[in-house]
Symmetry: C2
Subunit: 523 residues, 2 copies
C-alpha cells in the first residue's frame, strides 16, 4: 500500500537536486554577506547574484539554451565563479578549459564538446582562431572599458530553468586520461550537489568561512568548491596568480580559513618566508603526500594540512585524511600518517581497493589493488565515448586506474598509477599523450614517458627514447619538436636515449623505467 | 548528445539515497568511537552495529520483509535507535508510537498502519490486548534476563537490502492533525537522508558531538537526529526520564554538546537550579518562543538557544533561527529576535508565507499568511488517505496550516495555527479530536477546544461547552468522561460553560474563544 499512486513523488515533495539552489538560498538568506573578493573589489551575495543574472541573460540572448555547451577559458575571477551558476541556470552545460592549453588541445576540446561559445580572458580569444568556435572576451575588470562587462548594467530576472531531471549534465570537464586525447567527463546536477555537500561537511565550511582560490576553478570545477562554498554561504577570495606574496597578502586581508592546492604551492609559500598567518588556515592538498619538512614548515606558518584523493571522474575529492590540529606523534610520525589519502566523505558511495578478481584486497597496508569508486559522486560517463565509459565502469564501479593499499583503519594509500598519469604541479599529464607526440617524430623508434620525482612540481615527465639506427637525434632536437606540439607543462624535462626494457611479451617495462627515472633525478 | 544511453544512471554512479548508508560509513570508518550511552552502559559503533544486526536478523526471522510495517512503542533506549536502522535495512517501514497513547489511539494506529509486530518496553505489551497485533517485549536492560535481548548473542550479517527506489517509504509517523483521528505521515529514504544532512549542517554536528536525547525518538524520528547524529559519527546519549537531575548529570558525564526539547523542559532545568554546565550546550527548541527570562536563565547556565520550526509532515525541523553565541543586543532584544522561527536549512526546497490567492505575502513582518513548504524534505503523503494528501498538497506545496508573517530578513514568525493544534509539552493535540470526544457525551450540545497559555506546558486544552437545557453536567462530570476516552495530556485542563460565540454563518468564533482562554488563564 506504500506504492499507492497518491504517495508517488510530486512537485511538492520532489525537487531535482541542483547546486543552483545553493546560490538561490544564499541570495535569499544573507544577500548582504560577502560572496566574492577580487583585486580591490568585493561583492555581496546580492551583487554576485546580479553578475550571475547578467551572464545568464547574455547567454540566453546569444541563443544558448538547454543542453548547449558553454565553454569558459578563464582564471579564477568572479565571472568564472558566476559561470558555474549562470550556465546551469539556463540549462546549459559548463565546459571549463585549462587556461594553459596548447592550441591543438584547445581546438580539439571545443570541437569535441561542440561548444556554442567560449568566454575568454581579455586578449585571449585569438587562441580560438581556426577552431570554428567564437570567443567572447571579458572586460579587464569592473569599469575597465572594452569587453563583456557583467559587473554593471541592468539586472535581468535570473529566471532559473530547473533541470528536468537531476541526472541532467551540469558540467563537461576534459581530462588527459590514458588514450592521449582528452576525454570529456560528464557531471550531473545530482552528483555536483552531493559532492559539494560532502565537501562542506568534510571541510567544515560555514557562513564565516573565507575560501582562497589557489586551486584553478577550471580544475574539475574547483573540486566542486565553487558550489560548496556558495552552499555554506562563505566568501570566495579570487586569486590572479598563484604566487606566495599575493597568497599571504590575501590570507591576511580576507582572514582566509580554507584553501586547496598541490604541494608545489605550499613549497613556494615555505620558500617565501615571512611571518606566520595570524589565524589557522586549513589546506587541502593532493597529488603528492606532504613530507615531514613540508608538514613541519607549514604548521609553523599556521597552516593545518588535510590530504585528499580524487579525480575529475569523481567530481574532485572522494577521500580526506584529516588528522586534526591535535594529532599526536612526532612530525615524522604525523607525516607518515598524513601520507595516506584517507576515508571517503559522507556522500561518496564506496571506495574500495580490489584485486584483479574484483575482490577487496586484505586491509593489511601491503596488498596492492586498484581503487574503485561508486555512488552518486561518480560521473555519468565520457562524452561521445561509450567504449571508454563501458571500460571504466566494468564490474559496476568506476576504475580509477590508481594502485593502492588498504590500511586496517580503512584509509587508502596510493602506491602507483596504473595509467601512468604524471602529476606535475597538480595537473595531470598523460604519458601516452606525450609518447604519441614523440612517436610522430620520424627518427623516433620507440618512446616511453614516465614520471620523474621533482622537488618543485612533484613530478615531471621523463622520456626514454630509442632512435632509429644511424639517426643523430638528440635532446635538443626532441625539445624543439615537443615545443611545437605540446603544452609547456607536458614537455619532458629529461630525455634518456637507449634500448627500452621489454617484457617477454614485448610490453615496455615501465616499472623499470620509473626506477631509472628516480635514479636519474637523484643523481 | 547528453541524453546518449551510455550516460544514463547506472549502478556505478547512482546509489539510492538512504540514511542506512550513514550507519554503514560510521561502522567502517570509526568502529571504536562511542555510538550510544545509556544508564551505566556504553556501546561503540561496532557494538551498536551488532545490536542493529541482531534486531534486523530477528525481524527477518519473524517473516518481516520489504514493505512490512514494524511498530515500536519505546522510550529513548538503544533498541529504539537501532530500530531506525534495522527496520529500513530489511526494507521494512518503521512506525514509532507515542509511549503515552491511550489504548483507543494505540489500537487505531497499529490497525491502520497494518503493523506486523510491535516492539514494546518490558511489561508494556498488555496495552495491545484486543488490538489483534502481537507485542514483543524487550529485556529490561543488558544482562537482565527475560524479554528480547539484542545486546548479546551471535551477530548475524547485517545483509542490507537497499531500497529499490530512494522514494520508498522508510517511516510511518502518526500525527494528530485536524480530523481528530491520527493521520499516518509517510516519509521516504530520500527525504530522511536530505533532512538529516540539513540537520547536521544546521547544528554543526561532527564526530565529537555528544547528543542528549531529551526529545522523544518517537516524535518524528527524533526530528531525523536519529540519522543525523549517526551521519556525523557522534554519540547518542539516551535518557530514560525527562527530569532535570538526570539531564544535568548526563550533560556533565558525557560532555553533551547538543540537545533538542520543548521550552517546558528548559523551564524544569531553570527551576532545578545547580551550577552551570562546564561547557556550552546547544539547545534547539520549538513549539513556543523562548521568553527573555528563559533565554537569560539558560545562557547563565551555559546553554545556547536555537529556535526551530517544523512538522512531522516535513521530517522535523525545516527552519532554524540561530543567532549565534555573540548576538548583540539586550536580552529582551535578543529574545524578540529569537521569537522568529528562522530560515530554511540547506536541504529544504522552499518555505513561503502565502495569502489565500497563493501569492507570497509582503515581507513586512505584519501581513499574515499560511506557511507552505516544498522540496525533498516534505512527506510522500498520508497513508491510506488520498483525500487528505490531495488537500494538504493543493497548489503544489505542503500547506502547514500555520499562520505566520514573513520578515524582511527572510525569517518566518508564527502568529497562529489555522488547524487549532494545541502544543502541550512539545506534543500536538488536535482540538478537533478533543471536541469529538466531548460531542460524544449525551448532554453536550456543542463544544470548542482551544489552547490556553500555560507557564509549564506552553499550552493546554481549554474546553468551551454548551450543554443541553435542563442538564446538570459540570466540570467534574466531563473530567471523568474525558478520562475514559482521552490520553492524559489531551484532556482539557479547564471547562467553561455557556453559549459559544458564532459568526453570521454559524461557525464558532475560535478567535474569540482563544482570547477568553487567555483571559481565564491570566485571571
Amino acid at each position: 500500500m506504500f506504492d499507492d499512486p497518491h504517495l508517488a513523488p510530486r512537485a511538492a515533495n520532489f525537487r531535482p537536486l541542483t547546486p543552483i539552489d545553493f546560490l538561490t538560498r544564499s541570495l535569499e538568506q544573507h544577500p548582504d554577506r560577502p560572496a566574492v573578493a577580487w583585486r580591490e573589489h568585493r561583492w555581496s551575495y546580492a551583487e554576485f547574484g546580479a553578475i550571475v543574472a547578467r551572464m545568464a541573460g547574455w547567454l540566453r540572448d546569444q541563443g544558448i539554451g538547454p543542453g548547449d555547451v558553454v565553454s569558459v577559458m578563464l582564471s579564477n575571477r568572479p565571472e568564472m565563479l558566476a559561470a558555474h551558476f549562470a550556465a546551469p541556470a539556463i540549462g546549459a552545460v559548463l565546459n571549463t578549459l585549462n587556461t594553459r592549453l596548447a592550441p591543438d588541445d584547445l581546438h580539439y576540446i571545443v570541437t569535441h564538446a561542440g561548444a556554442r561559445i567560449v568566454l575568454c580572458e581579455p586578449g585571449a580569444a585569438g587562441a580560438l582562431d581556426g577552431s570554428g568556435i567564437a570567443g567572447a572576451e571579458l572586460c579587464r575588470e569592473p569599469g575597465a572599458g572594452e569587453g563583456l562587462d557583467f559587473f554593471s548594467g541592468p539586472v535581468p530576472p535570473l529566471d532559473i530553468r530547473m533541470p528536468a531531471s537531476e541526472t541532467q549534465a551540469i558540467a563537461l570537464n576534459y581530462t588527459s586520461g590514458t588514450t592521449g586525447r582528452p576525454k570529456g567527463v560528464v557531471l550531473t546536477h545530482r552528483g555536483a550537489t552531493m559532492n559539494a555537500l560532502g565537501n562542506v561537511l568534510a571541510l567544515g565550511l560555514t557562513r564565516i568561512s573565507s575560501y582562497l582560490w589557489t586551486l584553478p576553478m577550471f580544475h574539475c570545477n574547483g573540486w566542486c568548491h565553487t558550489w560548496a562554498v556558495t552552499a555554506a554561504g562563505g566568501m570566495h577570495v579570487c586569486l590572479d596568480k598563484v604566487e606566495p606574496a599575493p597568497i599571504l597578502d590575501l590570507i591576511a586581508r580576507h582572514e582566509v580559513s580554507h584553501m586547496c592546492c598541490a604541494p608545489v604551492v605550499l613549497y613556494m609559500i615555505l620558500d617565501h618566508g615571512g611571518p606566520a598567518a595570524a589565524h589557522p588556515v586549513l589546506v587541502v592538498t593532493g597529488g603528492a603526500a606532504p613530507t615531514p619538512t613540508l608538514l613541519e614548515g607549514m604548521e609553523a606558518r599556521g597552516f593545518e594540512l588535510i590530504h585528499a584523493y580524487g579525480m575529475t571522474e569523481c567530481y574532485g575529492p572522494s577521500t580526506f585524511n584529516d588528522p586534526g590540529p591535535a594529532a599526536p606523534g612526532s612530525v615524522e610520525e604525523r607525516a607518515a600518517g598524513l601520507s595516506r589519502q584517507g576515508l571517503r566523505h559522507l556522500t561518496v558511495g564506496g571506495v574500495r581497493v580490489v584485486g584483479e578478481d574484483g575482490r577487496d584486497v586484505p586491509a593489511d597496508g601491503e596488498s596492492i589493488g586498484e581503487i574503485t569508486m561508486s555512488g552518486n559522486t561518480v560521473m555519468a560517463g565520457y562524452y561521445r565515448d561509450p567504449e571508454a565509459s563501458e571500460a571504466v565502469f566494468s564490474g559496476g564501479a568506476l576504475h580509477s586506474g590508481d594502485l593502492a593499499v588498504m590500511h586496517a583503519d580503512g584509509q587508502i594509500e596510493i602506491r602507483d598509477r596504473m595509467k601512468d598519469v604524471i602529476i606535475s604541479g597538480g595537473e595531470n599529464i598523460s604519458s601516452l599523450e606525450v609518447e604519441t607526440v614523440l612517436h610522430r617524430h620520424p627518427e623516433v623508434l620507440l618512446a616511453a614517458v614516465v614520471a620523474a620525482p621533482d622537488p618543485k612540481w612533484g613530478e615531471t615527465p621523463c622520456a626514454f627514447v630509442e632512435i632509429r639506427s644511424g639517426s643523430a637525434l638528440d635532446a635538443t632536437g626532441l625539445e624543439a619538436f615537443c615545443k611545437e606540439h605540446l603544452t609547456g607543462f607536458k614537455r619532458p624535462r629529461r630525455f634518456v636515449f637507449g634500448v627500452l626494457p621489454r617484457t617477454a611479451t614485448g610490453k615496455i617495462q615501465k616499472f623499470a623505467l620509473r626506477q631509472r627515472a628516480r635514479d636519474e633525478a637523484s643523481s
